[in-house]
Each structure stands twice: as structure tokens, then as C-alpha cells.
Subunit: 342 residues, 2 copies
Amino acid sequence: MSDMIKVVLDAMGGDYAPVEPVKGAVEALEANDRIFVYLTGQEAVLKKELEKYTYPKDRLEIVDASEIIETGEPPAKAIQTKKDSSLVKGLKMVREGKADAFVSCGSTGAVLVGGQVIVRKVPGVERAPLAPLIPTEKGFSLLIDCGANVDARSSHLVQFAIMGTIYMKHVIGIKNPTVGLVNIGAEEEKGNALSKETFQLLKQTEGINFIGNVEARDIPAGKADIIVTEAFTGNVILKLYEGLAGTLVKKIKQGLMSTLRSKIGALLIKPALKKTMKSFDASEYGGAPLLGLRGLVIKSHGSSDAREIKNSILQCVKFTEQDLPGMISANLSTKKKEKTEE
Amino acid sequence: MSDMIKVVLDAMGGDYAPVEPVKGAVEALEANDRIFVYLTGQEAVLKKELEKYTYPKDRLEIVDASEIIETGEPPAKAIQTKKDSSLVKGLKMVREGKADAFVSCGSTGAVLVGGQVIVRKVPGVERAPLAPLIPTEKGFSLLIDCGANVDARSSHLVQFAIMGTIYMKHVIGIKNPTVGLVNIGAEEEKGNALSKETFQLLKQTEGINFIGNVEARDIPAGKADIIVTEAFTGNVILKLYEGLAGTLVKKIKQGLMSTLRSKIGALLIKPALKKTMKSFDASEYGGAPLLGLRGLVIKSHGSSDAREIKNSILQCVKFTEQDLPGMISANLSTKKKEKTEE
């Protein structure tokens, strides 16, 4: 089992737990025979759920956890008090080296806090950013940071650019990915205090392909592979993406029902429209990694189905094979060293 | 001419100047016979352009201005040096009381700086916010602030909420408009330092209908009539709205060309789709007012056509009739007084 990729799945997290997580785990095992899955959660419940499937029993193990962290709970307190939850137990397995990666569709706050407190940051990392892939005209971009750590400093944003570059290069496979800084104008002198300061630092940062400021209107066009921003703005961008796409589709559907002619047309375009909207659905790209930790922690959407959970588990393979935590640590320490030497 | 609404139109500003501004002015004069328009710009050019139309000559006057402020110019410098520009001359007429309102499709930066420097703020106003209407599922919301004044303080945001409420009530005609604060979570304790502080202040502010935090995903759904945020985030929201809508439509069009079936469907739905997208186009709602000034300053899109410019001019009527500057001043001084008395 030594060269297996060991992934812990929080089988009690998410809107459709445990049904979809269990199904997703089984599908991931089918898709890649180098994966071993630990399911954390209430043993009796999970055993019963697993009875539905045929799966390689030597590559799946249930780790009993009696408690469940709910979405509404204050994250820090939940992590502290619910020691026997599927989330805390799973994260501890990564910390102790028993597993390489942890995947959850549960409370974003609890995953973020738990990741930092239990798995802990790699030496040199100031903050661990949450970095989902968002769809664009050209494919997708990495939006870093969308987490809960607001009021960031420019040094954090520089680290996000470096970590994002490593992720896009080595996990997603984009050569020399471009880095853009979210700002309210394209010119160097535009923006607030944070963006002005960050711009100057990014210009001097080695090992990244910084292309300057990116206005929000250029994000959906795919102007940069890595979109660097602090978490407040990142969160606004991510959620407006979801909200606006949903509203537009609703409006278009209403519009298509307005005349007989358009109703007939609507029937004809339905399959093509569905396919298009799917290609523009952020959740198609699996979960968002919490970068800069000693192990891999992936947050999948609360509403994830088995397919998305399977994708999140498969995502862990490349991440682990490439030793991203090691790479991040090496890159950030080098940068620090360079700075000190100047 | 005493009860006329006198509007200065920057006839040289915008992508289609002077053709569309001149046409828009003529259309506005036709639409409302209480409007008087001053066109600022190069007299010879404007005279020639006006020859195309029949219009009430006693309600239109050209004010010669030899210079033009271009979009790329640094705003503060342009305002200072180009004294004989259509923009500076127009704003001066508002300052001197010769006109009630100023409309421009020119450089946003120059309009923002010029508005504050030349027309000046109403007593009590700390910052003049730019507040466009953005389309939502229910109709539209006022997004305040989208200007260039970044790094705002909580007291600024409270004033935005008050000014936005006055505008939505008295100009747009919404009774008891709801106010939402852009944040990364619905709960009171969520967000960055600025949003937490602002939340507490808004809760105590009289005369506004504060409904709490609004997450970005709820903005397109129309959760609040007035969306309060500082300018950096406001700018990101406004530009992502534009960018995402454009990208989605492009994607949908591409998708519709993918099969013969969908191509036929596309032909049938074209008129309905066009109508829908138009109802979701931010530029449909005329220009964005720069609130809190001693006169009305309206920034219309750079790409405005005659219809949009006409709408921006017509918008001035209600604003002026209601004496918004006076109302804003009265409301903000009252709030200040209350605070001092505490």
C-alpha cells in the first residue's frame, strides 16, 4: 500500500451526505486503482450505504466518527469541541501522515479553520488561501484567495501568486501560467493602498509570470490564468459568478417562454444550451484546494454530487505525486532568503 | 425660462461624440418641453451637427469650448489645465448656478474629480459616491459606491446608505427602499474590519431600511434596493456584471451554432433572447449620478447612444425638481447633530 494515494473523505459533510460522498468514493476507486479511500463518519450508516455497491474492499476503510459538524456552527468552536467528528478525525489523519489528502463538502469555515489548525501550514506560509477554479471563455482560471481570512497584507498576496503558480503548473499542467492582480483599472498607479503596494511587489517577484492588473470585466474573458486578490474581493467575485449566471439563465428561460415562436425554438436549443451552461458551471472543476498546508485539503461544494466528489478525490493524485507542500515550502523560503540578502 | 430645467450636456464626451450627444439632446427636448439644453463643445462642429435636426431653438444653446478631455488623460491634471474644455466649462455652469445639471459620457475619472473640485460637495458630505443602477431579477438596484475613491471609512458607507435612500425614494420612486451591505456572509459578525464596523453603524442609522448583509450571489436576485459598498468592491461588482453577461451571451451563441437543430432553434429565439438581454443591460437605465454634490452630475456610459443620453437628460428633471442636494444636506446635518448630542 506504500505507493497508494491515501485520501480521507468526510462522508458526513455536504447537502447530500452520506449518499453522494459514498457513491463518489466508490466511483473514484473504480477510476484509479492507485487510490485508497478512508471514509470518516458514523460506521453503521456508512456500512449500510456501502451495501449498495460492489467495490474493491482492500482499498476502502471506514473510520468511525460519531459527531457531525453542521454548516451553521461557528467553525473554531466546532473544531475545538467536536473531536469525534468526521471532519476533525479526517484532518487529523492527514496531520499524522496516515493519509495524504482530505476532501470535504461540509462547512467551508470548519474546513478552513480545521485545515490551518489541525493540518497546519507549511513553514514560510503566512496564510493558507482557498483557490477554486472558475470558468472563463478560454477554459478556467484560478481565483486565489476566496477564503475567510480577510484584511490581507500585500505579502500574503505575493505568496498567493507564488502558490497559485505552482498549483497551475504542476497540478493543472499549464506552462508558464499568467498572474493578474484584481484592480479597478489597468494602469500601475490605480487602486487602493493594498493593490498599489502589491503591484510593486509582484513586479519584483521571481518565478511568476505577472501580467499586471486585471479589471473584473476581464476575468470572465480569461485574461489571466491566476487571479490574485484578497479574500473579501475573491469571495465577492466567486459568489457574483454563481449568482449572475443563475439569474441570467432564469431570465433567458423566462424570455424564451414569451412567444410561441421562441417556445418552439427553446425546445430545439435545449440540449445545446444545457451543454453550454454546464461548461460554465464552476462546480464542474472539482473542489477548491486550501493551499500552503502540510497536506492536501480540498473543499468541494456543499451541493456536490458523486461525480464532483469523485473529481475532487482524483484531483488529489497529482497534487500528492508532485509533493506540492514541499515545492511551496522550498519556493517561499527561497523568496524569503533572497529578500534578506538584498 | 425660470421654471425650466437647465441641463448642460458635454457634447464632446464619449465614444460617439458629437453625433450621439447632439442627437440625444434633440430627442430630450422633444420628450419634455420643460428642458433647456446647453451643449458645450466646439461651436463650429456642433452647429454643423445640429443642422441635421429640427428642434426648438429657444431651448438649446451652444456654449463654445475649444478643448476636449480624452479618456486616457490623468483626471486631476486634465481638469486643472484644460480650462476651456467642454467638461470643465459645463461643470462650471452648474457651480455658478447657470445650469441645474451636467451630463457627460466622457472620462469617468475627469467627471468624478471635476464634480468634486468644481461643483463641490454639499455641506456635511464626506465623499461623493458614483451610484449606477444595475439590473436584477426584480428590476434594478442602486450600487453605491462605484467611483474612484477607494479605502473608504465606515462613516462614508453610512452616508452612502442615506444618500442612496434619498435618491431611490425621491428620484426613482421606491417607497421605503431596502439597504443591504455587501459582505462575505449573511451573519452580523462576518466580514472584514470595515464591514463589521459599518454593519453596527447602519443598524443605528435612522431613516434607512437596513436589512443587513447581502452576499454577492444575492445581488443579481435583487435582495436589496440599495447595495452599499466601498468603491473598490463596487467597481469589481459593476465590471464583473458587464464582463460575465457578455461572456455568457458569447458562450450561448457559440453553443447554439454547434448543431443543425440548435441553429434552427437559434433563429427562432433570436428576437426573444435579444429582448431579454436588453432588459439585463446596465446601460438601459441611463447614467449614474454622482451624489452629494451642490448640483447634479451624471456620468453616462462612454459608449452611450442618443437614447441613453436622452434618458440621462430626462433623469435630471426629477432630481432637480425634488432639490436632492438640499435634501441630502438636511439629512446628513441632522444625523451629525444627533451624533454630537449623544
